[in-house]
């Protein structure tokens, strides 16, 4: 009767890629001082490894990059990885609007999430915010409060606006519908990361 997962919409339960965060960890060099460095996976030579914000790192401000990122620390501000994936690990705490190609969440997020491919909310995740993405999947046990934009036309419009906004300032609103709750994404102020970085301040 009703086929879950057709029309390229949000994924059906259990259709989540099981290896994304694990793969990110496996490939990630750890920039923090508290965690052991993960070993490179055999056969991964030549592949770009994911950067890691370790559990003891806190970043306040705007964070931009051109590589995959694993966040196990704390980020407050904005994250922009338009062509790459972001994984918020189980220890990660992100209070930010996020723009990424793919977003995997195992930890805590408060903010609006924009993804051009998919958002995966894992069972350990706690998310408060609005998700705009062509595909969204949520695992049993995940806590989510907010809205999920399911209308492909609205998703394209929102992502198009956000991409356009990325090109220059001032930045317009990035949602398809008028929004009253979430902050506007802010223009990054400097090099990546663009804010303050503290080590050992993460909770």
């Amino acid at each position: 009767m009703f086929e879950f997962g057709k029309k390229g919409g949000p994924d059906s339960p259990g259709d989540t890629p099981p290896t994304a965060p694990e793969a990110a960890r496996r490939e990630a060099p750890d920039m923090s001082t508290s965690s052991p460095k993960p070993q490179a996976t055999p056969g991964s030579a030549g592949r770009r490894e994911a950067a890691t914000i370790g559990p003891s790192i806190q970043i306040d401000g705007d964070l931009r990059g051109q590589e995959d990122l694993l966040v196990e620390g704390e980020v407050n501000g904005t994250i922009q990885l338009r062509n790459n994936s972001l994984t918020i690990g189980a220890q990660g705490k992100v209070m930010a609007d996020v723009f990424a190609k793919e977003i995997n969440i195992e930890g805590f997020v408060e903010g609006d999430l924009f993804s051009s491919e998919r958002v995966v909310v894992r069972k350990s995740a706690q998310v408060r915010g609005n998700i705009t993405a062509p595909r969204v999947s949520l695992e049993d046990g995940a806590r989510f409060k907010g809205s999920i934009e399911m209308d492909s036309a609205a998703v394209e419009a929102a992502l198009g606006k956000s991409q356009g906004a990325n090109a220059g300032a001032p930045r317009p609103a990035v949602t398809a519908a008028p929004k009253t709750s979430a902050p506007e994404p802010r223009e990054p102020a400097g090099p990546v990361p663009g804010g303050t970085l503290r080590s050992g301040a993460a909770s």
Partner: protein, 203 residues
């Protein structure tokens, strides 16, 4: 006689009871046209719900009210209750809401809280918006906390008890619900096999 929403049966079998819900089925079938809708889900985020509404052109707003119901019931001051209800709901947007999914949550609201919450919701509804609810009707007791309810591909609802503890059921009658929810008219009501009354309200 089985308990409300098949909870007694669910406790005896490993799989949650699948409940045939004709009005829910008709509601979802109506949404399979190409019109964009805004759906307000008062319950917790469920993978199955996200997957199902991903097949429609819609924005799914998830309020996840279950944990806040006791707090609402404890508030005596009408103004304070109004503010608390507003705070629990997602931020109001310019786009009005077309469908409200109450699941079994209304059974857990005392009369002042039920009246105030549904009044708050009515102000954000589109003309002819629909609200779906399951009301304990035939059985004097119900589980002490709202159940986890998930739709399946056949548009039945799978009900998982959140607790084995029980409490007296308010057993709201259609007339009483009409008095408590003056902004809504009962479009259809059906007595289900498990003793629940299924309601479809129209604004």
């Amino acid at each position: 006689m089985p308990g409300a929403l098949g909870f007694s049966a669910a406790r005896q079998t490993p799989e949650p009871a699948a409940l045939n819900v004709p009005l829910f089925r008709s509601l979802i079938q109506r949404m399979q046209d190409d019109a964009r809708r805004v759906v307000l889900d008062l319950g917790p985020a469920r993978p199955e719900t996200v997957a199902m509404f991903g097949q429609c052109r819609c924005r799914l707003e998830i309020a996840d009210l279950a944990d806040g119901l006791d707090a609402l019931n404890a508030i005596a001051d009408p103004g304070e209750l109004q503010a608390a209800c507003a705070a629990l709901l997602p931020p109001r947007r310019a786009e009005s809401t077309d469908v409200v999914l109450c699941w079994d949550l209304l059974n857990y609201l005392e009369r002042p809280a039920l009246r105030t919450l549904m009044d708050q919701i009515s102000h954000r509804l589109a003309p002819d918006a629909l609200a779906h609810a399951l009301i304990v009707y035939s059985t004097p007791r119900m589980p002490a906390r709202p159940a986890c309810i998930a739709p399946d591909a056949e548009l039945r609802l799978h009900v998982s008890p959140a607790t084995a503890e029980e409490k007296p059921a308010p057993r709201y009658s259609p007339d009483e619900l009409s008095r408590l929810m003056p902004g809504y008219a009962v479009e259809r009501a059906m007595l289900l096999k498990n003793g629940m009354q299924e309601f479809l309200f129209r604004r």
